[in-house]
Symmetry: C2
Subunit: 83 residues, 2 copies
């Protein structure tokens, strides 16, 4: 068994309203910055876990994301080994 | 001018307490999953913006992160082009 660091990135699905991103965009514009087309927000979880292989670690992270980290109604996620 | 998509990842600095990560770890253990050593949480912002070059887009994203997206007392950030 060895330890793996897996990144789970959770984002809103396409078409889901992102009020936090819009607020940040407006705040940056109020600070004088222009040229920003959009800002999308998401969450990232770095999971350090024990597994036999990298594929097993990724699979475990997918299960955690599915069960607990992402809301499948409005969110989607990707997993990858953290470099 | 063209559009670039830049990812800003904001994380807690090393040594800063991450109660959200600890709660998720405990919740997964209560669901019966073992072998999790730690979970760290962070935020990710995908900024679509207009710039002359990729380096200019990255530089702009660094400024936004510095001024608005990250709290320098407890957080650090990285910027990279979104692939």
């Amino acid at each position: 068994m060895s330890y793996f660091k897996i990144n789970v990135e959770v984002r809103l699905k396409k078409g889901v309203h992102d009020p936090q991103g819009e607020t940040i965009k407006r705040a940056l514009e109020n600070l004088g910055y222009s040229g920003i087309k959009s800002i999308n927000t998401g969450k990232v979880f770095t999971i350090k876990l024990e597994a036999e292989t990298e594929e097993q670690a990724l699979q475990a992270a997918r299960i955690y994301a599915d069960r607990l980290l992402a809301n499948p109604v409005i969110e989607e996620f990707t997993v990858e080994k953290r470099t």
